[in-house]
């Protein structure tokens, strides 16, 4: 039996139940998860939350928070809103991070790069309000300690892993991203000072690129598949590898020393991955300003459907964010039929 009582309301009954300004999408969903997913109360609240067919924001709904975009009740949820001000990074860190971003993905107002797309704002939001952005992670120890020659090099309590094998285990860090950014940015400036006597942001672009090349090469050395040892010659591979590493071991070792407890290559990889996210995640997350990231690659974003003809011929659709995308399944005010695949009785928290 379906719990048809939950959401068969017609258009009339909907119009009077626009959520007030205090009832944000997240607060609705948070209360839902407390109540249990598919209870009658939950269904009613969700019905109140579906967008009005007459307009993207719903009659009288405050744009931005009351769209009623329903997300499955799983954490994390997208942030309510991302302020323009920086909350985690201090001014000097923003200047440094943007200097790095402007080399990772250069741009200007006509051809936006990472800075113009708001990637620093994305990263700051991720660090200040982690839960919507957090990578699901198992954070309990013991953690790995790598050794070059003998397991005895590894401190007590850590799991000894040969350095050349460590990349195969994936992420094994123990530090939260906030700490990695704080330490990594400071280390980047230290390294710039060591190499060229100036802060990273004050270097000319060529020297900035030179430093990022070192970080990139350090990352490749740490994960390079051509460093496989002890498995026989047939193990040599070019899968995913970038070929020869340009920077000498001496230079990489020096960078490692200056960076101290943060891995230069690990820091580079983290910033690069966050940059890609900040360019291409939905603008609800704080980056991808004016959908510039999606325009760069020609992705139309959150489209509801494509036709078989478009699959062959292409499309001229313009990028659109997920915000305000009308619900596909009907059961919304202003028309449509009752959604077919609704909750059935017999499922509930145990």
């Amino acid at each position: 039996m379906t719990t048809e009582e939950t959401s068969t309301d017609g258009p009339e009954s909907e119009s009077g139940r626009q959520p007030g300004p205090a009832l944000t999408r997240r607060s609705v969903l948070k209360s839902l998860s407390v109540l249990g997913g598919t209870s009658l109360v939950g269904g009613a609240a969700l019905a109140a939350c579906t967008p009005d067919a007459t307009g993207p924001a719903g009659a009288g709904g405050a744009a931005g928070t009351d769209e009623g975009v329903h997300q499955p009740e799983r954490s994390p949820l997208p942030p309510d809103e991302v302020p323009d001000s920086f909350r985690f990074l201090v001014d000097e860190e923003v200047r440094l991070l943007e200097a790095m971003l402007s080399r990772l993905v250069p741009g200007d107002d006509k051809d936006p790069g990472a800075v113009q797309m708001g990637v620093a704002r994305y990263i700051d939001a991720k660090l200040a309000d982690p839960s919507p952005y957090a990578e699901p992670t198992y954070t309990q120890g013991p953690f790995a300690g790598s050794y070059e020659e003998a397991p005895s090099e590894v401190e007590e309590g850590a799991v000894p892993v040969a350095e050349a094998q460590l990349y195969r285990y994936g992420y094994q860090g123990s530090r939260p991203p906030q700490e990695l950014y704080r330490l990594g940015l400071a280390a980047l400036d230290r390294y710039a000072q060591t190499r060229f006597g100036r802060l990273f942001a004050d270097l000319d672009p060529e020297r900035q690129d030179g430093i990022i090349v070192v970080l990139d090469d350090h990352q490749q050395r740490s994960s390079a598949a051509d460093r496989i040892t002890g498995e026989g010659p047939d193990q040599a591979t070019d899968d995913g590898g970038g070929g020869e590493i340009a920077t000498s071991d001496d230079v990489l070792d020096q960078a490692e020393e200056v960076f101290g407890t943060v891995s230069p290559g690990g820091f580079f990889s983290m910033v690069r991955a966050d940059t890609i996210e900040g360019m291409f995640a939905d603008p609800a997350y704080g980056g991808n300003r004016d959908l510039a990231g999606w325009r760069l690659v020609g992705w139309p974003g959150a489209q509801r459907s494509y036709s078989p003809e478009e699959m062959l011929q292409g499309t001229d659709r313009q990028p659109r964010p997920m915000h305000g995308l009308p619900v596909m399944n009907p059961d919304r005010p202003g028309g449509g039929q009752r959604a077919l695949e609704q909750p059935h009785a017999g499922v509930g928290e145990g």
Partner: protein
Amino acid sequence: MRRHDPVDIVTIGGGMSASILASQLLPPTSLQMVSLEQGPAQWTYPDFAHNHDSLRFRNRYAMMQDISRTTWTWRPDARSPSLPYRQFGSFHPGEGLGGSMVHWTALTWRFLPDDFRYRSVNEERYGSDRIPAEMTTQDWPVGYEDLEPYYDQLEYDMGVSGTAGNLGGQILPGGNPFEGERKSPYPNPPLARSKFGGRFTEACGDLDLHPFPTPAGILSQGYTDRYGNTRAGCLYCGFCTRYGCEVGAKTSPLTTWLPPALDTGRYEVRTGCRVLRIETAHDGRATGVRYVDSRGEEHVQPAEVVVCSAFTLENVRMLLLSTGSAHPDGIGNDRGQVGRNYTYQLVKSPAKGLWRDEKFNFFMGNGCTNAQVYDYNADNFDHSSLNFLGGAAISADAGQREPISSSDALLDGFVDRQWGADWKTMLGRSWDRIGSIGIEGDSPAYAGNFLDLDPTYRDEWGLPMLRITFDWRENERNMYRFLAARCEEILRAMSPDRVSVSTELAPYRIDQYQSTHPTGGAIMGRDPSDSVTNSYGQVWDTPNVFVTGAALYPQNPGANPSGTVGALALRTAEALRDRYFAHPGELL
């Protein structure tokens, strides 16, 4: 501790095979069944109504198991240390009502007749000395002809879209000529073809290969199944793998088997429940399961039959965790067979091309809007003069590309640095102009690849995690080298302007997504001396415990496992319904 009234069947996990069992067992009987699901309830509507958030679903794995609470550990070999799988990489087990089948890609295969006779076929054709000493592959206790009726039912339950290649022994044009003989055609025509898939199909035709559209558990048109579920066809929106389908075109337990099962009123799914162990009596029989709910309260659910219907890895772990006086090493493990023959899937994209003047609309469609060839899969080609056994399906890139996950490595091999002005310019110009040819290969079993309980790492409930010991072997490296060359031939026949080929198979690494196809570890067989269960998934040493899913596979062929998971579940459901309850506790 709360003790519930006994039921006939309790399942650990509320996913694909649990819903199949419930839909087949309950409507014609008076049986009662409970499923314990670790994740939340979720439904097509409203839960998937607004889900086009690629950061959240594609890149933050919103539908996957919560690995902050429990995960798995891995090591490449028994000499190396194990470490936890701390972030998602190699595989993505789901959680929530419907399980992994809600977020799946939906390739729906029948395994080939030869796949069920892997050892015999290779010994007969090439001699037993061609099978490496460490390789522990073995024949299945069922053959293709045994499973054909269940494959047939599964395809019609799901409304699978595809083109038949061997209908009643007649080879049909446009289908897979290597498939086993099928009684019926697919219930729905194939999905719309993508531009890149079309190119691949033409090129393979030119090379005298036999391309065919990917069989998909995604509706190509409106369809009403035998349970009365009416569903809409695919909208090719491009948000498919790792998302729930907002129109129900992608088949899952939610769209298909849960409605008839729940309509009986004799099926209950308790969400947010984590099973701790299967309880056993002194005589060795299972009596039920012990679990904790989302508030941390402990429960016992007694049942006549206990089914391990969770993901492969958790099924194996549950058997090992369920020790008792009669089963000191865990259920099914009286002869030390649990954990053996852990296998995976060799999924790679060896050859990548760039077309300067052509876009392919890779962001549309789904993971099945492509085409495949089976000419180099299994033993469909002569291995007499080759240095490996087995093979792989070869396919073109499908659809659903989105920029966060694709931009990381798309330009590898085409630009020196994966950042900077050149990278940005090329990404902007080429994001939709680069496509690859991939393989999905078989994974033979080896004595050195196995599952057991980790001695160090424990989950949030204090229970040992499962430890995976796995790496590729010489056979797979040789197979990969051969297949990469075939991929390159096909790619070049598609006339790209630039080509990048990875010619060698790198060692297994757990941080790169390959497939959610961990298989084996609680394998089925003809004899308790070399298997954990019989062909019904019934545990030899504890006959009122059943295992469903891909943990039963003696080794993994070159195809996605879900079609056979479904067929086996239908067969087990029939045996339970028609025979088991007449003689409970006896081997089927």
